[in-house]
């Protein structure tokens, strides 16, 4: 029993964490001056010193920290507030059903569309002008790429709120929240009180890792920060990326050192949030157990605000995609026209020829990595189910999430160096492998709760009936879990499609994906072309999400309970 447990930890750790650790190590070496091809074989801290001597470092670090903290905490609080306020209200099912499409919009595509929407020459201003604003040329307002990273934070809040909601819904299924709420109501707890005092403390342990993951992502995101973030100076992750790509090759040392600083920063911030959690927990101990306080007014205002906010999130996401759609079909669209003056399908037609290969690559990388991730997750989860290893309180769970907790930029350079050393970069297989690193945790994250809650008695019954563990597993357990499996596959696929840095660093430029093309063309910034590519980046995961919803319905038409 013990050795099996140890084996599981070993295998899981190896699969999930090892590439990250190796990548980190291979990044740290140049950070302390060791990069053989570059006359760097002596250890020194000059690179680190150079990072802090760089004029942009401090302000860029503070921009990163502030935007990441604001975006993460706001998205987290908003998601909790939405779940609490809208629980079993008229909009509850809207909330539940809007998550998949919201998550399907890739960050980059959303950012491009959002910028099209809110810029001074953006779509919103085009609607209002000139009739309401009097502008026949766009005002010189600093909205997108503002120097306080506000537009970046807002963009991230809009994009991360649905992710937290999804995690909350999945965490709710962990315990009998209905009963808790009923009991609380009978004890005269108001809904808000019951939620804050009884539900949230049970939810939070399941939300901790997603919270850290979002924090790490917001801190280290490159593509979205290029589109929405400040640029004089840029956020720290963008700065590091500039150093890695600087025409003066010696900046690679700076990049490696900066990447290591980024990792320390993430660790520090996670520690900070963890400490804050402990502090709040300690401080609220007495408040939590003091029992219900009778309020006569239930927060109707809060409910209305929550509904308004949900609608705003949905509307902004919808309009951002719509803005992409309109731009993609335009030929000529000048300010302040509300719609293009000339339309064209030229850019779609052209993209089809240009994108045939990238689309094939993206789809095959996505399918293979998602399928592999699902297989590995099923194997691990089945193991966990058999030996009753719970998902929470397993310290090795932290290892599984390492690839999404550690900022990509702080270890991908190292992975690139290692792959190059063994002549492995630039092949489809290695890109699939590096995608798998990032896809696995998400597949596990979306699947584990449902999978481990599966009532094993079905399986036992089936095993007795058909006399075969395997047949029972394939004919009973898997079909019963088909829906969550399909959803998990779709999430994994979407995660793979959206990968930018991994494809860039490992593909050696030979494995072109839609996302790589999108960023390459977004640097060209012809709005029409960018829009078409951003939409392609969205269409692929959307199709898979739709399939994940429809296929189980078709397959199990005759089994309503599934």
């Amino acid at each position: 029993m013990l050795y099996r447990k140890l084996l599981l930890i070993f295998v899981g750790g190896l699969l999930f964490a090892l590439p990250v650790l190796l990548g980190l190590l291979a990044t740290w070496l140049p950070a302390i001056g060791y990069l053989p091809g570059l006359k760097g074989s002596e250890f020194s801290i000059t690179a680190l010193q150079a990072v802090f001597a760089h004029p942009s470092t401090y302000s860029s670090l503070s921009l990163s920290v502030s935007s990441a903290l604001i975006a993460t905490s706001a998205a987290f609080v908003l998601s909790q507030w939405l779940c609490m306020s809208l629980y079993k209200s008229a909009l509850w099912s809207l909330l539940k059903h809007s998550i998949a499409p919201l998550l399907a919009v890739p960050h980059l595509a959303f950012a491009i569309g959002f910028a099209f929407l809110i810029a001074p020459s953006g779509w919103l201003m085009r609607w209002l002008s000139p009739a309401l604003t009097g502008f026949d040329i766009p005002p010189d307002w600093l909205i997108v790429n503002d120097s306080y990273a506000i537009s970046l934070s807002v963009g991230l809040i809009l994009k991360e709120t649905p992710f937290f909601i999804l995690m909350t819904l999945s965490a709710l299924s962990h315990f009998d929240h209905r009963k808790t709420l009923q009991v609380a109501a009978s004890l005269r707890y108001s809904h808000t009180q019951a939620w804050l005092k009884l539900i949230f403390p049970q939810l939070y342990p399941h939300l901790r890792l997603p919270l850290f993951a979002v924090l790490s992502y917001s801190l280290s995101v490159v593509d979205v920060a290029i589109v929405l973030g400040p640029n004089a100076p840029a956020t720290f992750a963008v700065l590091i990326n500039q150093w890695f790509n600087h025409s003066d090759i010696n900046y690679r040392f700076l990049g490696a050192a900066g990447a290591s600083v980024m990792l320390l920063l993430v660790i520090a911030l996670i520690a900070f949030i963890y400490a804050a959690e402990k502090l709040i927990k300690a401080q609220s101990q007495s408040w939590l157990v003091v029992g219900p306080k009778v309020f006569h007014k239930e927060a109707i205002m809060g409910m209305l605000l929550a509904k308004a906010w949900l609608c705003l999130v949905l509307l902004m996401s919808f309009l951002s995609v719509l803005a992409l759609l309109v731009w993609s079909f335009s030929r000529q669209w000048r300010f302040p026209d509300a719609l293009p003056s000339r339309w064209s399908v030229k850019y779609w037609e052209k993209s089809w020829q240009q994108l045939l290969e990238p689309l094939q690559n993206t789809a095959s990388i996505g399918f293979v990595s998602a399928a592999l991730a699902l297989l590995i997750c099923i194997a691990i989860l089945q193991w966990q189910a058999v030996y009753k290893i719970p998902v929470q309180r397993s310290w090795w769970l932290g290892l599984l999430y390492l690839p999404i907790l550690v900022p990509q930029i702080s270890f991908l350079f190292g992975i690139q160096m290692l792959l190059v050393r063994f002549h492995l970069e630039g092949s489809l297989a290695s890109v699939i492998w590096v995608h798998l690193i990032f896809v696995l945790p998400y597949a596990y994250l979306t699947l584990s709760q449902v999978y481990l809650q599966f009532d094993e008695r079905y399986l036992q019954q089936a095993t007795i009936l058909c006399q075969s563990k395997w047949r029972a597993f394939f004919y009973v357990k898997l079909p019963m879990l088909f829906k969550p499996l399909a959803f998990s596959f779709a999430v994994a696929f979407a995660v793979s499609v959206a990968q930018y840095l991994p494809s860039l660093y490992v593909g050696a430029g030979r494995i072109n994906t839609v996302t790589l093309e999108s960023v390459a063309l977004a640097s060209g910034a012809d709005a029409r072309v960018s829009a078409v590519f951003a939409l392609w980046q969205f269409i692929l995961p959307l199709l898979v999400y739709i399939a994940a919803i429809i296929i189980p319905q078709i397959c199990f038409k005759n089994r309503r309970e599934l």
Partner: protein, 407 residues
């Protein structure tokens, strides 16, 4: 014409016969070597790493790839990159991993600091352009930047592909009279606050704008051809910073945010957020008008004392997998046919590196017949080409700029 060629041919034959072999043997040998390269190249896959941010350029590269596939059975694949520095870094990673052959890059579109970085770090293959038959057509006499890439000696390590010159574009509907130099740009912006900007450094176009300003404002521009370590940078660059301190409050977003790239500036010009933009391709404005990317009221202009110009090249890395194929493609890119198509405004409009005098009369005529768009300046109007400063200036300017405006 035909008679003339026959005449020359006769002479050639005669000379060859008279010299009984020596030069003929040399020519034949060169032909042999090239024939060998062609044979070797057959069936090779050439990964051409080239910036992929422009649709028109990507289309041109696809055409060129199809041509060499047809003529020489060489399979060229464009690897669309966002930043050439990134590719240099990849080749460096390969070198540091000890990969001497079978590298991931066969040919790279390059110039300036990236070329210098590759040359200094021995990341380039042996000198090769002298072996390419079409290299003889390049106008090395009148286009010094084909021999000195941002003052770094080219030494046949990279093949000239096209010429670039800094031009400004203005929307004549919004701004009837464009500025004529840096000082009048300042005056213009006082009446049109926020309607010009330049990409934040280290962006290539942003750096170019700063170099142009320095060129116009520095007391003694001959200092620019020296390495920056040999001059008193603080003192000689002082007029530039004084100027930028005045300019920035008048820029787009009051200089607190900058466009990401010259391509984004084109979009902003279309959106009327900007009235003035800049480009390194003299034909950019006409091309964009034809594409409905810019209004037809956009025109090009240059500053009265000239603007910076340079050459862009293709180079082969030291560990390229398909060196022969890369040479064949580089040679094709320098052919009259490929250069003519590249110079065609509706296609790309990138000026040629070839010398007209070295082309056949028919080819010359084709170049003369190219129709320039309304927004394209003639070579006369383009005026004087200023040479790029010594490449060491870039790092110094960038550092000083970041310390002042991006901290």
């Amino acid at each position: 014409m035909l008679k003339c060629t026959t005449e020359i041919l006769k002479k050639k034959v005669l000379v060859a016969t008279v010299l009984a072999g020596l030069s003929a043997a040399a020519i034949a040998q060169a032909d042999d070597v090239w024939q060998q390269t062609l044979n070797e190249a057959k069936g090779q896959s050439v990964y051409f790493n080239a910036w992929g941010g422009s649709d028109t350029i990507n289309d041109y590269i696809s055409w060129a790839a199809a041509e060499v596939k047809k003529q020489y059975q060489v399979d060229v694949k464009q690897v669309k990159i966002t930043d050439t520095g990134d590719v240099v870094s990849r080749i460096l990673a390969e070198k540091s991993a000890g990969r001497e052959t079978g590298g991931s890059v066969d040919l790279i579109w390059i110039n300036g600091e990236n070329f210098k970085a590759m040359k200094d770090n021995q990341l380039l293959a042996q000198a090769y352009t002298q072996k390419l038959p079409n290299y003889a057509l390049v106008d090395t006499e009148n286009k010094p930047s084909t021999l000195y890439d941002f003052t770094t000696a080219v030494d046949n390590l990279e093949a000239p592909w096209g010429m670039a010159q800094l031009v400004f574009m203005h929307d004549s509907k919004r701004l009837a009279k464009p500025p004529t130099d840096m000082l009048s740009l300042l005056e213009t912006l006082k009446h049109n606050k926020g309607r010009f900007s330049y990409p934040a450094l280290p962006n290539f176009h942003g750096t170019t704008f700063i170099k142009q300003a320095l060129h116009e404002l520095i007391e003694d521009s001959s200092l620019l051809s020296k390495p920056v370590s040999e001059v008193d940078f603080e003192r000689v660059s002082a007029p530039l910073w004084a100027y930028l301190d005045q300019l920035h409050p008048l820029l787009w977003r009051s200089g607190k945010s900058f466009p990401k790239s010259a391509e984004q500036m084109k979009q902003l010009l279309n959106d009327s957020e900007l009235f003035i933009s800049l480009s390194f391709n003299p034909n950019d404005a006409s091309n964009a008008i034809a594409n409905d990317e810019l209004p037809d009221t956009v025109r090009s202009y240059v500053h009265k004392n000239g603007t910076l110009g340079n050459t862009h090249f293709v180079a082969i890395p030291f560990n390229a997998n398909a060196k022969a194929g890369a040479q064949v493609f580089a040679n094709f890119l320098m052919s009259a046919k490929a250069q003519l198509r590249k110079a065609t405004p509706a296609i790309w409009g990138d000026p040629t590196v070839l010398a007209m005098s070295k082309l056949s009369t028919a080819q010359q005529q084709q170049f003369f017949n190219l129709k320039l768009g309304a927004a394209t300046l003639t070579s006369e109007q383009l005026g004087k080409v200023l040479l790029e400063p010594h490449s060491s200036w870039v790092a110094a300017l960038e550092k000083a700029w970041l310390a002042r405006y991006a901290n």
